[in-house]
């Protein structure tokens, strides 16, 4: 697994990083810590305070591991930030050389564009960002990979998966399974229906998903939610560690997200959100 973590100087980035570190401790994923600054400093480089912040983030990730379990190269204070391509800076020093890669990069520019470009560049399976990033909605709809929007830390042990008529990818199911392990959570699947023909399709998919998760030793809870009741349903659902939804080309959520409806609703909830592809 390769994870891209988008970070800024907001306090929530530190919290996001602590959740991601748990995921890294479990998965030993290759990871890029991406800092985003809107513009260069007056001397034409990256603001030094931001470089310091990124260095702190790097150290915080490494401190999440016991020394004997560390899959990444250990950090030392002897490092430099080099411009590897125009507007893209990378921490050079002890960031490579472990079993797994941990890359620290800073990109200058528009957050949405820089995050999406970096995700393409590094071939990430998952983009992680905090719930107050302005760009979250655009990234959620435009990214090619799954996107995790981290909210406040919650320990409710339940993951809600909205299921619609869209295609399910193998990698999305694998991502849900990893999240269930990470949160030590039960999986609940809410099948979205609006008419009888859709309900029959959703039932078949639910049946298949139950079979899939049973094969992984997971017994998911299932339920049906009429699409016209989606809004009150989301408003009532505050007892989740994580809400997940598939965002394929024909998914209901892709359509609703782009018109801002679901995004606005989810923004107000406390649960983290995982958009699957």
């Amino acid at each position: 697994m390769r994870i891209l973590v988008a970070l800024d100087q907001d306090m929530r980035s530190a919290h996001t990083l602590s959740q991601v570190t748990q995921l890294l401790v479990n998965t030993w994923a290759n990871v890029t810590l991406l800092g985003i600054v809107p513009r260069k400093s007056d001397d034409g480089g990256v603001p030094m305070d931001f470089v310091d912040t990124m260095n702190q983030y790097h150290k915080a990730v490494l401190q999440g591991f016991a020394a004997e379990d560390l899959p990444y190269a250990p950090a030392d204070d002897d490092y430099e930030i080099a411009e590897i391509r125009p507007g893209i800076y990378e921490k050079i020093g002890n960031t490579h050389g472990g079993i797994k890669e941990l890359t620290v990069r800073i990109r200058v520019g528009n957050p949405t564009q820089t995050i999406l470009e970096e995700a393409q560049d590094c071939g990430s399976d998952l983009i992680v960002l905090h719930g107050d990033m302005d760009s979250q909605q655009k990234i959620a709809t435009k990214a090619d990979c799954s996107v995790l929007i981290v909210k406040k830390e919650r320990d409710t042990g339940r993951i809600l998966c909205f299921l619609d008529d869209d295609l399910l990818s193998q990698r999305s199911l694998e991502m849900i399974t990893q999240m269930a392990v990470l949160f030590n959570a039960e999986i609940e699947i809410a099948g979205l229906t609006d008419k009888q023909s859709v309900e029959e399709k959703i039932e078949k998919k639910l049946d298949w998903l139950i079979h899939y998760f049973n094969g992984k030793g997971i017994q998911p809870w299932i339920q049906l939610v009429a699409l016209s009741y989606l809004e009150p349903f989301i408003l009532e659902q505050d007892h989740w560690s994580l809400v997940t939804m598939w965002m394929g080309e024909t998914s209901i959520f892709k359509r609703l997200f782009s018109v801002n409806k679901v995004a606005k609703l989810l923004e107000s909830r406390k649960s983290s959100v995982l958009l699957l592809r």
């Binding site: 039932e203 049906l224 009741y229 349903f233």
Partner: protein, 266 residues
């Protein structure tokens, strides 16, 4: 031995019903029969009259029987005790035919699948049906199949009869599952928290009877609030036990919010 009948159609809810019954069957001495109430023309409208119509209806019925038989066979792989389906002939109301079958075969437990829905209309319709209003035997509405270790939650509004306790012990005689009793006092309180009330009035005689018959209740508590505020309390159990509440009553609203399987006692 507990004699169980599961209503099976060719759908996901029926698979859930079978899995739920088979899960019970792994820790309780029981037989697991399956029944399907045939409905002529259930696949659509008749396309003709007379001989053609009869032939068409026969084909529909055969197709339906085949689908149900295939479903039961596929589930038998994970549940050897599952018996092949028995088909109830297509006449009068489905619920009446099933009730008659349950009574004449002296079944102790009926199981049927129901996909849990956020919108409670179908649930209300079901519990308002003649079958549920005059339950011929304990009826398990299977909605999900969580592990039995999640225990049973008995919901009551303060009245639990010895007869209900006796019926419950007839199904779970060996304390195979942990039991909690929650007494619901419905009001407008927007936030509900369960309070320990081991000496709750109204339930002591039944509880004493239950305990003298060898049953153990892990916890008795009381909760005050609206059905919505209590929803979180009915989420995470293997089973919820209750009598059949009046359609659209506050207890019915609370039960409609539970994704757990519901065991209704007559």
């Amino acid at each position: 031995m507990l004699k169980t009948a599961i209503a099976v159609d060719a759908d996901l809810a029926s698979r859930i019903a079978i899995r739920c019954a088979c899960q019970l069957g792994r820790s309780i001495d029981m037989s697991v029969g399956t029944i399907h109430a045939l409905e002529p023309g259930e696949e659509g409208h008749a396309i003709a009259t007379g001989w053609v119509r009869q032939t068409w209806e026969d084909a529909v019925v055969r197709e339906s029987m085949d689908q149900v038989t295939r479903l039961v066979k596929s589930e038998q792989a994970g549940c050897r005790m599952l018996e092949p389906p028995l088909f109830l002939p297509p006449e009068n109301d489905r619920g009446d035919r099933i009730a008659r079958h349950l009574r004449s075969n002296h079944c102790n437990l009926f199981v049927e699948g129901f996909l849990h829905r956020y919108k409670p209309d179908l649930f209300m319709e079901k519990i308002g049906s003649r079958f549920y209003r005059t339950l011929p035997c304990p009826t398990l509405m299977a909605q999900n199949v969580p592990p039995m270790s999640k225990g049973v939650l008995w919901l009551s509004q303060g009245k639990v009869t010895e007869k209900m306790m006796e019926t419950y012990l007839g199904i779970f005689p060996n304390q195979a599952i942990e039991l909690e009793l929650l007494i619901c006092r419905f009001g407008k309180n927007p936030s509900a928290a369960a309070k320990d009330s081991s000496s709750a009035s109204g339930v002591e005689p039944a509880v004493s009877f239950f305990e003298s018959a060898g049953g153990t209740i892990k916890n008795i508590s009381t909760v005050e609030g609206s059905p919505s505020s209590m929803a979180a309390l009915v989420r995470d159990h293997f089973l919820i036990v209750s009598s059949v509440p009046p359609q659209n009553s506050l207890m019915a609203q609370l039960l409609s919010k539970s994704p757990c399987s519901l065991l209704f006692l007559p």
